[in-house]
């Protein structure tokens, strides 16, 4: 879980737990939100909003789809 987060009046940032790159949230993150790191392409899930914390998003499972 990541704890290296920064909050400004407009954006919140967090470090990618895979590559350390910076992730920016232009609006308040939602619990369960999935974001992709533009640095390494890994998908991360917001597991806590206060404090902001990320985990690797779960892998696609067999019964997932449209």
């Amino acid at each position: 879980m990541n704890s290296a987060t920064t909050t400004t009046t407009e954006t919140q940032t967090a470090a990618c737990i895979e590559c350390g790159g910076e992730l920016q949230f232009r609006r308040s993150p939602r619990l369960g939100q999935v974001v992709m790191c533009s640095g390494c392409g890994v998908e991360l899930e917001v597991v806590s909003t206060s404090p902001l914390a990320l985990e690797l998003a779960p892998e696609v499972e067999e019964d997932w789809g449209e």
């Binding site: 939602r30 619990l31 369960g32 939100q33 999935v34 899930e45 998003a57 779960p58 499972e61 067999e62 019964d63 997932w64 789809g65 449209e66």
Partner: protein, 294 residues
């Protein structure tokens, strides 16, 4: 109005829907099914909602949750019965056939031997699909007997019991694309084409989405298909057959639309949210009426 949205991860689509619902003044709660359990004897917590929108990526979770929530007397969008019909290609095909909606020929077998016989009698190529699955996974074009024998043996040996139902579809020589019609509340709202150099044209497999004029024929087929499976919201996939024209291929109950808003110019999440509020409003009114009668 109070609306719950079921999910197991909040993707761009779910965020857009939450935003659209909130913009329309709904009180919305996102409920993560990975962290949810149900008490079959007590659905009081769920009865506070006028509507539950299912947006779980997991079919198992979707069906489990909506079946239970409906027992509590709460309306789900889509209803569990519609999810059942859309998620199972065999059941979708049966409903399309029953409604006389043009669709590719489908053969079903429950043993590899019977499947091989059906394929040989039909002729090559055919498309072999799992009855339950999405995003083009495990969908295979079978070009000859060698491939058929190998695929059927692998499925029956390595697959789950569900893989033992062989869904064999005639191969449609489509022009490098398939079509998709979005239907919300019984009305076709937008259409796209999905183009790819690969014979599979799922955007999940890299196909590109392009806006498409919503012709009366597309709208009619889309609306009839959505109606035959009882969907509030659905994406209907169609193939262009050189001989028979448009054929309904599949129906998606929890559609993705992130790439179809700018390409069509249609605010798909807004239209879904508006329909959700219409359903929620009707439910809320009905409840008030019932409450007044008690």
């Amino acid at each position: 109005m109070r609306i719950a949205m079921l999910h197991n991860r909040l993707r761009i689509e779910e965020e857009m829907l939450l935003d659209a619902l909130e913009d329309l003044g709904a009180e919305v709660v996102a409920i993560d099914l990975r962290r949810t359990s149900f008490d079959l004897m007590n659905g009081e917590d769920w009865r506070q909602y006028d509507l539950v929108i299912d947006r779980s990526l997991s079919l198992t979770s979707s069906l489990t949750a909506t079946r239970i929530i409906e027992v509590y007397g709460v309306r789900c969008m889509n209803p569990s019965h519609s999810i059942e019909l859309c998620s199972d290609k065999l059941r979708t095909s049966i409903e399309l056939e029953r409604a006389a909606i043009p669709t590719p020929r489908v053969m079903i077998a429950t043993s590899p031997e019977a499947a091989l016989t059906a394929i040989e009698e039909h002729g090559y190529p055919v498309v072999l699909k799992p009855t339950i699955g999405s995003w083009g996974r495990l969908v295979a074009r079978v070009n000859d007997r060698d491939a058929a024998e190998a695929l059927l043996e692998h499925r029956s040996t390595l697959g789950s019991a569900q893989q033992g139902v062989f869904y064999i579809q005639e191969h449609i020589d489509k022009p490098g694309r398939d079509l998709r019609v979005f239907v919300v509340g019984g009305e076709a709202i937008a259409a796209i084409s999905r183009s790819s150099d690969h014979w599979l044209t799922n955007t999940a497999r890299g196909a590109e989405a392009h806006g498409l004029p919503l012709t009366p024929e597309l709208a009619d087929l889309g609306q009839r298909a959505a109606a035959c499976v009882g969907s509030d919201v659905a994406a209907i996939d169609l193939l262009e057959c050189p001989q028979r024209g448009l054929l309904v291929n599949e129906i998606n109950h929890s559609m993705e639309f992130r790439n179809s808003i700018s390409t069509t110019g249609v605010e798909i999440p807004r239209l879904i949210a508006e329909h959700a509020l219409r359903i929620a409003g009707a439910t809320s009114g009905k409840r008030r009426q019932e409450g007044a009668l008690v």
